[in-house]
């Protein structure tokens, strides 16, 4: 029998506000443990939450970016459970009245384009971190760091619309791209500022009812998500084919072994006893706020890719690479604007620029070669002032020093043709045209060398490097 998977994803993304969602503490990552805390995020008796307006703006922008309806009134709710990293014994989240609902995200895989439904986006606070001690002194102890507690999060819940691990990854990448475009989060999966849980079940192709699902956690890279889902699909199919059945449970992905392991069953699932948070009034979103957020939305990745393909007539692949970050896309567009060479610019950005950055482990925003300077270099190639080969050398120098193309070319005398292969062609032409002079030279008339040099310089419009011409001529005339 043929099976298909049904996958729904829950994404948690931290929001890049300067301060926490319910207090004024800094959200900076990497500070000394428990140094960014106050009565509110420590859950001290009597402390009360106050909502961070910037976090609301960010969440509204995300809602609009994935075409959600923004609820004019949403309600914070308490999710009650005990854990040492949760100082109040409840997480302030949203439950039955979330900030945004009914959105959609277009994804593209080898199977084509599909729209994935976004069920809801809601706001909540993050928990702290537990650090489990090691060694003689700390072993057996756990330490609580509450710096992260109360950091703003949005949770984005998808419809169970994905059918393959590839689609799930495409959806996640799409969401992450949007988040990065909006600049509302750093999308860092390793540090946990962008996290994903998956609900997955299988069913025979053609069946419309859903199978029993498992919840997968602990997949902190695109690869792990793909591997975890692929493993889980296999596992569930094997179970059913073997006459068994899937049990509803939470499973952890073990990245070292590439398998998923049962964490807790349905019976052990928490009863979170959600109820409206009495310390916060319902969140009212005004039309003004929505309009302001709508106006501040940048062109989003999917739309930008479409436009690049249409406007610049570059291949889909190029467009996909170039829109992978908003800054990269802007960089590319600035280069094209100055050169009017869409494909040549794309080759340069995707080739030399991205390669150098990758070797250096830098972001496009940190590229020492500005778009303006790269455009100048490309124009020099286009006008034939330097060859492509020389241009790559010049680029390496520009990348190293941050200098301008024409300065490097003139300083190093590169505008002269120092390219041996180019010169050899001219030399060979001069020599074959003047066969008799060659004979005379070989017979001892050494002063004819000057004549040959002159001819080569003439043939290269004076741009050949004379020293190199001398050397090459001598080599050629020896034989």
């Amino acid at each position: 029998m043929k099976y298909e998977a049904v996958i729904g994803l829950e994404i948690h993304s931290q929001l890049l506000t300067n301060t926490k969602i319910f207090c004024g503490c800094s959200t900076r990552f990497g500070a000394a443990p428990n140094s960014q805390v106050c009565p509110v995020c420590l859950g001290l008796p009597g402390a009360l939450p106050v909502l961070n307006g910037k976090a609301v703006e960010f969440a509204v922008e995300m809602g609009l970016a994935v075409e959600c309806t923004i609820n004019r009134e949403s309600v914070f709710a308490r999710k009650n459970y005990f854990y040492p990293d949760l100082p109040k014994g409840y997480q302030i989240s949203q439950y039955d009245k979330p900030l945004a609902e009914h959105g959609t995200l277009q994804i593209e895989t080898d199977d084509g384009r599909r729209n994935i439904g976004v069920t809801r986006i809601h706001m909540e606070e993050d928990a702290g971190k537990l650090i489990h001690g090691e060694g003689a002194e700390d072993g057996g102890h756990s330490f609580v760091d509450l710096n992260r507690a109360c950091t703003p999060l949005i949770e984005i819940v998808s419809e169970p619309d994905m059918r393959t691990p590839e689609e799930a990854v495409a959806y996640l990448k799409g969401m992450r791209d949007i988040i990065l475009y909006l600049g509302i989060s750093d999308g860092n999966m390793e540090e946990g500022s962008f996290r994903c849980d998956a609900n997955i079940s299988i069913r025979p192709v053609g069946q419309t009812t859903l199978g029993t699902k498992a919840e997968l956690k602990n997949m902190n890279s695109f690869k792990f998500i793909k591997d975890g889902l692929a493993y889980e699909i296999e596992r569930q199919i094997d179970l059913i084919e073997g006459g068994g059945h899937v049990v509803q449970e939470t499973r952890l992905f073990d990245s070292a072994r590439g398998i998923t392991l049962a964490m807790r069953g349905k019976e052990e699932a928490h009863d979170y006893r959600y109820f409206p948070e009495p310390d916060l009034k319902p969140l009212v979103i005004t039309e003004e706020l929505i309009e302001r957020a709508r106006k501040s939305l940048p062109e989003l990745p999917v739309a930008k890719k479409e436009r690049f393909i249409k406007e610049y007539e570059i291949p889909t692949y190029d467009a996909g690479v170039l829109i992978s970050s908003r800054v990269l896309a802007e960089y590319y567009e600035a280069v094209v604007k100055a050169t009017a060479e869409a494909k040549l610019s794309s080759n340069w950005v995707m080739g030399e620029v991205l390669r150098a950055l990758k070797e250096d482990n830098r972001e496009i925003g940190e590229c020492p070669v500005s778009a303006h300077n790269l455009a100048e270099l490309i124009l020099m190639v286009k006008k034939g002032i330097i060859s492509n080969t020389i241009a790559k050398e010049v680029f390496a120098e520009m990348y190293k020093t941050g200098g301008k193309a024409h300065e490097i070319v003139s300083k190093k005398g590169l505008s002269q043709i120092s390219d041996e292969s180019a010169l050899v062609a001219v030399i060979d032409e001069v020599l074959s045209k003047n066969a008799d002079s060659v004979e005379r030279y070989k017979a001892g008339e050494q002063k004819l060398l000057g004549f040959f040099v002159g001819q080569v310089m003439k043939g290269t419009k004076g741009q050949a490097n004379p020293g190199l011409v001398n050397k090459l001529l001598k080599e050629r005339l020896k034989g």
């Binding site: 009565p39 009597g46 402390a47 009360l48 040492p84 009863d271």
Partner: protein, 486 residues
């Protein structure tokens, strides 16, 4: 007249005239506390050292003659539910024994800024859960009027400390009557403001949608003075109301001619103490004689108030008290192996029986499958109760009722029967559910010499009406000559 029995206004006048220093005043109260409080037990912690330091600062301020409020240099007590920076704050629970907050609650900060001298932290029912102060982990408080009786609760220590002249005034909190009912039991004035009028920041939460801080004082004017200094929007409390604070004390007046006072028939019930009913009706007659118009009104959903309250309040409490887990502060009992054992042992040892009972009730009311039948239904009925008041206030300006169905009961009398205990708050709870202001005024002693209370309930943010009505009653009634025999 003993200086310790003076009102805030009376003391302030002496302090400003420099007839008395704040340090002297504080000394007098501290002496009296040392003499009487070992038996009354109205204070959990007496903060002698910081009180004298506060007094010295206040004296400098009084000497300079600038930036003086009616509370500058006046010694007060505060319920041990308000976080006080550097001073033990227990909420009368073993769970928080030894807990020293690193911050002041907004109310405390405001009172300190006004120059108040804090004598100590008063006894209460653990986490404000109770109507008798018997649920304190640090022993019951005695009613100054009758030492075999409770002072009411949960702000019983505050009420007793005011009644016994162990402070000039006090502040408490009221979730279902916890200021008004003990005020009634102890023969003092107790005011619960409109929900949101006073910041809850730094006030240890029992039931967040009901809790409200307010003063317990010797007369109505003092209540007006205190409220004026406590009230106001606080950016640290999202539920505090953004409305300017009137000059309650300055606007106080006793002309209530034509004021329509609603009397709800649901508040004079079968089985209530006849003497109490008689004294309250006498009080209402006094208001009528002063020119008020008495209007019969109905608050038809009153009978559901106690049930609604014990669902909403316990649900919120079950969540609010989850933070006491032994991880960060307060008590930790580390027996057994691992986290769950630590949680269980800590919460078992740290909480008293009534607190556990309410956490369980609230947890149940919020549980999956029961939420709609209990918590949700309760919030729906709460809306009906609120609507009752909206309807009633179309025909009256304030409402007058008894504060409690009976005077203070005997210590131990109701501890074995939580339901009877819960009924002590039957007349005060609706006010909290509707978020309205209410005051309890002493309205005479029973034959046995026990105080009774007359409650005036006002419209949303109608504190001035409530205070004026109370003031008019107080003026018409005349001064109370009897004092507790201590």
């Amino acid at each position: 007249m003993d200086l310790t029995s003076k009102t805030i206004a009376g003391l302030s006048e002496m302090l400003q005239k420099r007839e008395l220093t704040s340090k002297e005043a504080a000394g007098l109260y501290l002496e009296r506390i040392a003499a009487l409080d070992p038996s009354i037990n109205s204070y959990i912690t007496v903060t002698t050292e910081s009180a004298l330091a506060d007094a010295e600062k206040a004296d400098k301020r009084l000497a300079s003659g600038t930036d003086i409020t009616p509370l500058t240099g006046v010694p007060i007590s505060v319920k041990d539910i308000f976080c006080t920076e550097g001073l033990k704050t227990t909420c009368a629970s073993r769970m928080l024994e030894g807990f020293i907050p690193p911050y002041d609650s907004t109310v405390i900060k405001k009172l300190k800024d006004a120059g108040a001298v804090i004598l100590g932290k008063t006894n209460m029912d653990e986490f404000a859960m109770g109507s008798s102060t018997e649920n304190s982990a640090f022993g019951s408080t005695l009613n100054p009027w009758a030492e075999d009786r409770v002072p009411g609760g949960s702000s019983g220590g505050s009420a007793a400390s005011v009644a016994a002249d162990l402070c000039a005034a006090s502040i408490g909190t009221d979730t279902g009557g916890s200021i008004r009912q003990p005020a009634s039991c102890c023969g003092v004035v107790g005011l619960k403001p409109t929900y949101g009028r006073v910041s809850r920041y730094g006030m240890i939460a029992f039931a967040s949608s009901l809790d409200q801080a307010g003063p317990l004082t010797k007369d109505v004017k003092d209540a007006a003075i205190m409220l004026g200094l406590m009230a106001g929007r606080d950016n640290c409390d999202s539920t505090s109301i953004d409305a300017s604070v009137p000059d309650y004390a300055g606007s106080l007046q006793d002309n209530i001619k034509g004021l329509r006072i609603g009397i709800p028939n649901e508040y004079f019930i079968e089985g209530m103490d006849k003497e109490t009913e008689g004294l309250v009706r006498e009080g209402i007659k006094t208001l009528k004689d002063a020119g008020a118009v008495i209007v019969d009104i109905s608050l038809p959903h009153t009978e559901y108030a106690v049930s609604v309250y014990y669902l909403v309040a316990t649900a919120e409490a079950s969540s609010n008290l989850a933070r006491y887990d032994g991880v960060k502060y307060g008590q930790r009992v580390d027996i057994g192996s691992g986290l769950i054992d630590m949680y269980k042992a800590t919460r078992d040892a740290g909480f008293g029986a009534e607190v556990k009972r309410r956490i369980m009730l609230g947890t149940y009311a919020l549980s999956s499958g029961y939420y709609d039948a209990y918590y949700k239904k309760a919030t729906d009925v709460r809306a009906l109760i609120k609507n009752d008041f909206d309807e009633a206030f179309k025909t009256c300006d304030v409402i007058a009722t008894p504060t409690a169905p009976a005077p203070a009961f005997k210590i131990g009398e109701r501890t074995s029967d939580p339901l009877t205990m819960y009924l002590s708050d039957i007349f005060t709870i609706s006010c909290n559910l509707a978020g309205l202001p209410g005051i309890s005024l002493p309205c005479g002693l029973t034959e046995a010499g026990l105080p009774t209370g007359l409650q005036i309930i006002g419209k949303f943010l109608g504190e001035q009406d409530v205070l004026n009505t109370a003031y008019a009653y107080e003026q018409a009634r005349g001064p109370i000559t009897q004092k507790p025999k201590l």
